[in-house]
């Protein structure tokens, strides 16, 4: 792909073409912007398809159980109550399951950034060596490997290795993120000029010092993208913990939501409060980091 997607997708695109003049603020005086109102209104209406399910989740969570079962999903909570959250907190043993989810995600994020930055640095600086080049393609092969193909064997192997627990889940997440992350880092490292490293080496810096003091700080923006994707993948994942973790008490938040389908299926306010608590961290992270999320998708797809 010849077009490099700039990291700040939405601001720089304005220079690319007039049609994409980003204007969030009111038009400047003296130069009235002409907006395409019909399209704006059509998009706003379409966005309801995204917002309505989230709105229902939010309102249901604050209702009483008796109001939640009346079938009217779109009414506002009356009276407004936190009972659902209190019960969901207890039913899902929220502090523990939240801690497990955070632990798995934190391990995945740190592990993915470090392992893939190491590997990408070694690969990009030794591209002329067959071993490193082939290692790159070998790691990328994971991008094409569907999880169901290896799932049952991984369940067996993690059981044998006593990793049928959140730690095993986190290690597997790192491995599944590795191909995509090495790809992003390698592409980024190719754009860093050699001269910087050469001068550091002339002053006697070792490869390890060059990496930690020069390369790794330069990788920061890409580390952010890699880290966010590792976080979202591990935080929202359902299938891997549900298959790998053998102890039900050690399950992550998404897996625990199953109890509301079986045991507490009529306490809609409780189940929705629980869904909300499971969703909210990822949505908050996204709202603060949407630039990198958007850039990561486009870079990953067209590299």
């Amino acid at each position: 792909m010849s077009t490099q997607i700039p990291l700040a997708t939405s601001t720089t695109s304005g220079e690319l073409r007039g049609r994409d003049a980003d204007s969030v603020k009111a038009p400047r005086a003296g130069r009235p912007e002409r907006f395409n109102w019909p399209v704006t209104i059509a998009l706003a209406v379409c966005s309801l398809a995204v917002l309505i399910p989230l709105y229902v989740t939010l309102t249901m969570a604050f209702k009483t159980t008796s109001q939640a079962v009346d079938g009217n999903a779109f009414s506002l909570p009356a009276p407004f109550t936190l009972d659902g959250f209190v019960q969901a907190w207890n039913l899902t043993t929220f502090p523990r399951s939240f801690a497990i989810s955070v632990g798995v995600s934190a391990f995945t994020v740190v592990g993915t950034i470090l392992l893939s930055a190491f590997a990408a640095y070694a690969i990009s600086r030794n591209w002329d060596r067959r071993f490193f080049r082939w290692s790159f393609y070998y790691l990328l092969a994971a991008l094409f490997l569907p999880f169901p193909v290896v799932a049952l064997s991984q369940v067996k192997l993690t059981g044998l290795a006593h990793l049928d627990n959140p730690l095993g889940v986190a290690i597997l997440h790192v491995m599944f993120q590795l191909g995509f992350s090495v790809l992003l880092f390698t592409a980024f490292l190719r754009s860093i000029p050699d001269e910087l490293e050469e001068s550091a080496r002339l002053e006697g810096a070792t490869t390890g010092q060059v990496f930690w003091q020069l390369i790794f700080p330069l990788l920061a923006p890409m580390s952010a993208t890699v880290g966010i994707f590792a976080f979202l993948a591990s935080w929202n994942d359902f299938v891997m913990p549900s298959l790998i973790t053998s102890d039900p008490a050690m399950q992550t938040l998404p897996v625990l939501q199953q109890i509301f389908q079986t045991q507490f299926s009529n306490n809609y306010n409780v189940s929705f409060a629980s869904y909300l608590m499971a969703m909210a961290p990822a949505i908050l992270v996204y709202l603060f980091t949407q630039r990198w999320v958007m850039a990561g998708v486009t870079q990953g797809a067209i590299k």
Partner: protein, 309 residues
């Protein structure tokens, strides 16, 4: 995610640069091996080894533990005449095709809208990308409630017959609910790729077309669609590949039912342990793997053709 392995990342190898001061192959710093090996070794243990052992067990009669014997291709022969496997493949492939069409049509239109001169562009883009970060299983449970309770209640109030009973309980139409929720989650990343594609079109092409009096519809047909063809291809391939793996959302909506009408390939494989047909499902996974490899090759060809490398 599509990948284009870049043939030569650097104009010349570092060995050629005068700065390295040596001729020919420079001696490698051992530290580079220390950097590469942790990832490589772990990856081999966690991903490559399970893939190989899985293929190995597909030629046995293992139940997942204990003793086993070799059975050759018996599992594979049995697969092809198994109605439940056929229905899983039929459902999954049909579902993936429908969902790819729905997702790409909607995402393309939204991307055109989101690159036009609109108010609140940043906010609108943020909203349309939001579903990407919501857990599949959780949003499926939310939609499960809407399909089972809210929509029937609303349909009854409006006197609209077909939707008065839950879509999820209807063996003929439950798949439609899965398409809706899968699309809800998959459209964001598809939109982002289309936005990148549309922004890559030079503005003067449109200006020239406008000077020649081309209408908006004509510009869409003669400029936007042809010039984003490569992005359409990537989105179709990536989407199809992802939808073949569908699992979470199906669990949250129908759990493969009613009956087995919405049981996907992934679901049939994951049930291999509980049903005690481990080796049999490994054969299923191996076939699935072969399909994935074919799609991967298509993807590489599609991206390489237009990456300018």
């Amino acid at each position: 995610m599509a990948v284009v392995p870049q043939a030569s990342p650097r104009p010349k190898t570092r060995a050629d640069t005068p700065a390295s001061g040596r001729r020919g192959r420079r001696r490698i710093d051992k530290t580079f091996y220390a950097f590469l090996l942790p990832g490589l070794v772990l990856f081999t243990l966690a991903i490559a080894l399970p893939a190989v052992t899985g293929i190995f067990y597909s030629f046995t009669d293992s139940v997942g533990f204990g003793q086993f014997g070799f059975t050759g291709f018996i599992n594979y022969i049995a697969l092809f005449s198994d109605p439940s496997i056929r229905s899983a493949y039929g459902f999954t492939i049909g579902f993936a095709l429908v969902t790819v069409a729905v997702v790409n049509a909607i995402a393309f239109l939204l991307a055109i809208g989101l690159t036009a001169r609109i108010r609140a562009k940043v906010a609108l883009r943020a909203v349309f990308v939001l579903p990407m970060v919501v857990s599949g299983i959780v949003i499926a449970y939310v939609f499960n409630f809407l399909f089972s309770n809210s929509i029937p209640a609303a349909a009854t109030a409006l006197g609209f017959g077909p939707l008065e009973s839950s879509l999820l309980a209807n063996p003929d139409w439950a798949w439609l609910a899965i398409v809706v929720v899968t699309a809800w989650q998959a459209i964001p990343s598809t939109i982002l790729i289309y936005i990148a594609g549309i922004l890559a079109i030079p503005a003067d092409v449109y200006e020239a077309a406008a000077l020649d009096g081309a209408s908006a519809a004509r510009q869409l047909r003669s400029i936007t669609i042809p010039l984003t063809a490569g992005y359409i291809l990537i989105n179709v391939i990536i989407g199809f590949k992802n939808f073949l793996n569908s699992y979470d959302i199906i669990v949250g909506l129908t759990n493969g039912g009613p009956g087995t009408s919405t049981t996907s390939i992934a679901m049939s494989i994951f049930n291999g342990f509980t049903n005690g047909d481990y080796a049999y499902q490994m054969a299923n996974a191996t076939i699935f793997f072969l399909i994935a490899i074919v799609i991967a090759l298509l993807q590489l060809r599609a991206t390489r053709g237009r990456s300018g490398l």
